[in-house]
Amino acid sequence: MKNLYFLKNKLQTTTFIILAMIPVFVDSYYVNNISFFMLWTFIALSLSLIWGKGGILSFGQAAFFGLAGYSFGIIGINFADVFGVGVWSVILALIITGIFGLIVGYFLFYGGIYDVFVGIVTLSITLVFETFMSQTAGPEWTVGIARLNGFNGMQGMPSIGINLFGHNFEALDNKGYYVILALAVLAIYLLDKLANSKFGLVLSASKEDRLRVQSLGYNVKKVHMLTFAISSVLAGMSGILYTNWGGFITPESMGLVSAALPVVYCAASGKNNFFAVFLGTILLVWISQELAINGRQFALIFMGLLLVIATRYFPDGMFLFFIDLLKKITQKVIGN
């Protein structure tokens, strides 16, 4: 087991080094594209935590994505002249999202809502958010000076960044790429730490038997509420990075498709393994984008099929499936 852990770390480190070197060798167009692929990993990681480790399937991650994106935009637009707004808007947006996640988590778990009902309630929250934001097109829908702009989405927010001694640092292009990569490395490191802590052990145990965990003296509802809040912050990170990347956020980011895609990323990559989810999400967003060139619906059909196939044939994720397959083929070849 120790050897495998070392291998995993080695693989992780090598992957991150390769990713860090990409902007040196690759055109900025592709760097920008990979930034886009990577920013989705946070929402997938958030689901990996609550679903993969905690056994709670949430469709609410898209709502947190949107809430954080809009909050980031509203704060940024309203306080554009305040020093460090590009950093403070990120922090405040994450705090707002975390508090909302905590409140939703409280009502869910202390209300005894579990299993499939969590999915139903969280999906409803996501769709309510989308419906509400879609009807904010009129000029009366403003927060301070920030117009919500309905279905067309909010625009014009300052980027993540800071002005130091007259120098502007903005998390865009190559700098943005490194900011996203650094945040992803940090997120995976912290999530691994969390999963291997006592809290993580209790969370994993609760996936198997909630009553038994309670009978060992743990407040399972509290554990789930806190995990839900942490996962909402992670999903919010994706929303903020998405808004920063494109300079806009639309209600569509909280739609049915947006709620379902992280589930596909997680299920197909191996929802229990943060690094696999990180890699799988980059791969799947890239494939999805390539397919989208030939028609958006085609990409969605592929994702739907992938979810069905993953559930049936590789419940532990495509990477483990291919590693096992490779092992079997190697053994067969050596055996012959």
């Binding site: 052990l201 994993s204 145990a205 038997d209 009553l211 309670q214 009978s215 003296g217």
Partner: protein
């Protein structure tokens, strides 16, 4: 006079028109290995669930170390110093034996883990998945989970269900060892062998009410107990 650790005062539980537990009084003293026996439908499991808070009583009190537990949730009762094992082995199958113990322990005391691993015979399997253990070892792991955090009182619901004669005997030895370390046991059980081996006091439930209490010898010799429990006329 022995100090009482658990007091059940006139507790009652009905399901619709059926009375499962009828004004039961029970006093467990510190250091005891108390067995609760009775024929099927006597109310043993209901009483067990009332003690841990899994069921709410119609009336009556559960007092542990002079503190009323009635309004507390299961995890809050456990925090007061109670260990618990349900009837069916409820361990975490997808985690290793060591991880199971880590979840249950309230401190990172590696010596304690080692002691438990040796005592319960898990040394070779400590890094194996708990789901791969034999039924007997699953039961022992479940008892280990209930007792690793040094609770004052451990409640066991049928700890020997499905065990062989030898395994039952070893279970008795483990419980006796833990009892000597200072843990009081309240055990709901059907198996008379382990009762004879380790019980200090026996309470017999019948039709939801306390029928008789006493030493194992006196209870087992009691003709009325034989009549209701063993069907001997």
């Amino acid at each position: 006079m022995s100090e009482s650790i658990l007091n059940i005062n006139k507790i009652k539980k009905t399901f619709g028109g059926f009375t499962a537990v009828k004004d039961v009084d029970l006093k467990v003293n510190r250091g005891e290995i108390r067995f609760i026996i009775g024929p099927n439908g006597a109310g043993k499991s209901t009483l067990f669930k009332l003690i841990i808070g899994h069921l709410k009583p119609d009336y009556g009190d559960v007092i542990f170390k002079s503190e009323y537990l009635n309004k507390l949730d299961l995890h809050q009762r456990i925090k007061k110093g109670i260990g618990l094992k349900f009837q069916a082995p409820s361990i975490f199958n997808e985690m290793t034996v060591l991880e199971n113990l880590e979840v249950a322990a309230n401190e990172t005391n590696l010596e304690k883990y080692d002691d438990f691993i040796k005592r319960f015979g898990f040394f070779e399997e400590k890094n194996s998945l708990a789901g791969d253990l034999s039924h007997g070892k699953k039961q022992w792991l479940d008892i280990a989970l209930a007792s690793i955090s040094n609770p004052d009182l451990v409640l066991l619901d049928e700890p020997t269900a499905g065990l062989s004669f030898e395994e039952t005997k070893k279970t008795g030895e483990i419980i006796k060892y833990l009892n000597k370390q200072g843990t009081t046991f309240l055990i709901v059980e059907h198996d008379m062998e382990i009762l004879k081996q380790i019980a200090t006091t026996v309470s017999v439930l019948h039709l939801g009410a306390m029928f008789v209490e006493g030493t194992p010898e006196s209870v087992l010799k009691n003709k009325d107990v034989a009549k209701i429990y063993l069907g001997v006329s």
